[in-house]
């Protein structure tokens, strides 16, 4: 018997990447990973407290504080939700959108941010079509920046509202969050994972509470590399098999605006990945159905499922306002401990 000798490779000491300086501002929420489980627990508790609070008392919390909404992409849910949340706390909000502003004339994100700061904005809620834009805005303005969705990257408040929805149904009454809170729970995220910031934020957040994530979709929309996005993430391309294991299923829209020339056979897609009443009834009759919106009825979900008893889609929308009240309050440093400025 001969023993093969493998050549020994030199062990090289190599420079490592520096630790992140972000977020610069303690009120910022750039990524779901900015928040510890303890902070998330606190935010969810504040969301409930603020939701239950008398509206007239509540609107003194951030009375006359200035919050800017800076939107480079169209949005219904997120924009309205943030705006209602800030206003419910009494803040003055102003909306700047890429159309109908100097952005159209070529002003950079840095200059727009500095202008808003000079106009008195104390926090900026940013929706942007480029991944990473909130980091740039925060570095340049040092204001609290709330990421309301950046390109294909993250949408942390969506992950928080999804978590609130999941907990309400699957772990009712739970208070402190731990690495075990969602142990035993499988959440399947279905569809256009590649282009989805909602998927990335949830893939970041939910495994930290012990949930198992199955991601499901065709290769074009779900590359193999997605499995390396973090711990607790598995690719399951068979939709039925994924459904059978799931207590919650999160459907995503195909982001036509980000396909970049990719050709998809939609009939084939629907045949494999559309959530129909029949699929749901046979494979996951107990699971709750989430969707971050906007929904394209008849594509990723049928109307029957969207409006059906397992759907919690409108609850998600409602939870969005509560969670964003807590996040905006935190941004302006007016948490319960300080008791607000008013």
């Amino acid at each position: 018997m001969t023993l093969a000798v493998t050549p020994t490779r030199r062990t090289l000491h190599l420079p490592t990447a520096p630790a992140s300086l972000f977020p610069f501002n303690r009120g910022s929420l750039l990524s779901a990973s900015d928040l510890s489980l303890e902070e998330i627990g606190r935010l969810l508790a504040r969301a409930t407290a603020l939701e239950d609070q008398d509206p007239l008392t509540r609107e003194r919390i951030l009375a006359k504080r200035r919050v800017a909404l800076l939107f480079y992409e169209s949005s219904t849910r997120t924009r309205t939700s943030f705006e209602l949340a800030a206003k419910a706390l009494g803040a003055d909000t102003t909306l700047v959108s890429s159309l109908s502003s100097s952005i159209e004339k070529g002003e950079t994100l840095k200059d727009t941010g500095l202008t808003l700061r000079a106009l008195g904005a104390e926090a900026i809620i940013l929706r942007h079509n480029s991944s990473g834009a909130p980091w740039l805005l925060e570095a340049e303005t040092r204001l609290p920046v709330l990421n309301a969705g950046d390109g294909m990257h993250e949408h942390p408040t969506q992950a928080l509202l999804d978590l609130r929805t999941l907990l309400a149904h699957l772990r009712p009454g739970v208070e402190a969050l731990t690495a075990e809170t969602l142990a035993g729970i499988t959440v399947t995220i279905v569809g256009d994972i590649l282009h989805s910031r909602v998927a990335r934020s949830n893939m970041q957040l939910l495994p930290r509470l012990g949930a198992r994530i199955l991601v499901c979709g065709p290769k074009e929309l779900l590359p193999e590399v997605a499995a390396q996005a973090g711990p607790g993430i598995t690719i399951e391309r068979n939709f039925e098999a994924a459904l059978r294991q799931s207590q919650a299923v999160m459907m995503l829209r195909i982001q036509a605006e980000r396909l970049a020339g990719l050709q998809l056979d939609l009939e084939q897609y629907k045949a494999n990945y559309q959530l129909t009443g029949q699929r749901l009834a046979t494979q996951a009759p107990e699971a709750i159905v989430l969707h971050p919106g906007p929904i394209i009825r008849g594509l990723e979900v049928t109307a029957g499922v969207a409006d059906g008893p397992q759907s919690v889609i409108l609850e998600q929308v409602k939870n969005g306002v509560a969670v964003r009240m807590a996040v905006v309050e935190r941004a302006l440093g007016a948490g319960s401990k300080q008791g607000g400025r008013a």
Partner: protein
């Protein structure tokens, strides 16, 4: 011209096989005499530089820099770029043609070398391989060569079409010029802004697959093989992937004239350094995986890599203070190449000093046929760098001589401090002492 004597230094000239205490006499822009310590007969009025305790070596040669002139003087000028080069110990730089307009003419090639540009060291223009670097029509290589061009490339862009690349290799070989390829199959990198892989997925950025580089290198080597002409020289610019390096290694074993360079950022950094969308970690080719980076180090240590070249690519601050995917590619590198190479290749990974210096001078000079450069043999150009090999210092991007400061190495520890850089007998840089 007055004479200059460098006295008491430790001369390391890998090309001439010299490694010891020597005094050097520079006269009329050339190396006039080399002698043991105190053995030189000093001419009257010769200026003397005391290099006691310092290393004296051939001035460094960077065969891949972007000096941005003509056309983009707000990023860099030939004057500021060569001042940065001199501060980094370089005495020769080869300037890439992706200027505005593209350097595809004898006229621009001459303009870049005119004394009016105020260069503090020697600039060797590399001309565009094709008209406007559009990859369609070959330029007049004979005319470009007689105007001073030392190679052809469409750097910044690849020569993508098979037939155009084949014609380029043939036409360049005919006049004795090297072809430098920016190996990127741009059909695979549309809209991408970093290396493809888990990090790009996590950051929500479109990725450039390693095959975009290695595929084109393999295609080029196939063309060189088919041409069966030993005058053909293919040089692979800024090699960044293990697969491309394997292809170069194989080509070399087959006896082909295929060479490659590696930039300091590709042997030191990985895609992890993109961190939170640091635009000073954005360049093309992008920072790759740790496995690719480790391969670059191994290939430098085992001798497959022919040269260290910086790909010095200055950009104005406002151009880099934008969304990651909109930021231009490139980082500066002229003032950090020697310090990083000595700190890591020599001190950390024990590559002998002579080999480090050879990768930064003799080898790149030979690769582009720069006669009389990269060595201090008597009769060579009086291009010298004198540095303190033991000195550790911290690079501060704010103190750069370049017009731009887009570097990921701000605040890094460097080893080896340049004391003097001498270009053709004149002191081009002298450190504040």
């Amino acid at each position: 011209m007055t004479a200059l004597v460098i006295r008491g230094g430790h001369l390391i000239d890998p090309a001439a096989g010299v490694d010891g205490l020597k005094d050097i006499l520079l006269k009329d822009g050339r190396v006039a005499e080399i002698a043991g310590p105190g053995k030189l007969k000093l001419a009257n009025g010769a200026e003397v530089l005391d290099a006691t305790g310092l290393t004296v070596a051939p001035g460094l040669v960077d065969i891949h820099v972007h000096l941005r002139e003509p056309g983009q003087g707000y990023k860099e000028t030939i004057a500021t770029g060569t001042a940065a080069a001199a501060a980094g110990g370089f005495t020769s730089v080869a300037a890439m043609p992706n200027t505005r307009p593209v350097n595809d003419s004898a006229e621009i090639t001459r303009w870049m070398q005119s004394p009016e540009r105020g260069a503090s060291i020697r600039v060797f223009p590399i001309a565009a391989a094709t008209r406007g670097s559009k990859g369609e029509t070959l330029n007049d290589y004979a005319a470009l060569k007689s105007a001073g061009a030392v190679a052809v490339t469409d750097d910044g862009l690849p020569i993508l079409k098979d037939n155009i690349m084949r014609e380029t290799l043939v036409a360049a070989a005919r006049v004795g010029l090297s072809v430098i390829q920016h190996a990127e199959d741009t059909r695979l990198t549309q809209g991408a802004s970093m290396n493809a892989g888990p990090m790009a997925f996590k950051l929500g950025l479109r990725g450039m697959p390693t095959e975009a580089e290695s595929g084109l290198v393999e295609r080029d080597i196939r063309l060189v093989t088919e041409l069966r002409d030993n005058r053909v020289h293919l040089h692979v610019a800024h090699t960044s992937t293990a697969a491309a390096l394997a292809a170069v290694r194989q080509a070399r074993r087959s006896g082909l004239r295929v060479t490659c360079e590696v930039a300091p950022h590709h042997f030191l950094l990985t895609e992890e350094h993109v961190g939170c969308y640091n635009t000073n970690a954005k360049m093309n080719p992008p920072l790759r995986s740790a496995a690719d980076r480790d391969t670059m180090v191994e290939a430098i240590l085992d001798g497959v890599v022919d040269a260290i070249a910086t790909d010095h690519a200055p950009h104005a601050i406002h151009e880099k203070e934008v969304e990651f995917e909109h930021a231009p590619n490139g980082i500066t590198g002229l003032e950090t190449a020697l310090g990083l190479s000595l700190r890591w290749l020599h001190k950390e990974w024990k590559l002998p000093m002579g080999r480090v210096l050879s990768l930064l001078s003799a080898q790149p000079a030979a690769l582009l046929g720069l006669k009389g450069r990269g060595t201090l043999a008597v009769g060579s150009f009086a291009d010298v760098v004198v540095f303190d090999p033991k000195a550790e210092w911290t690079f501060n991007a704010r103190e750069t001589k370049s017009k731009s400061r887009n570097t990921p190495f701000d605040g890094w520890t460097m080893q080896g401090k340049v004391r003097w850089t001498i270009s053709e007998g004149r002191v081009a840089y002298s450190s504040p002492s």
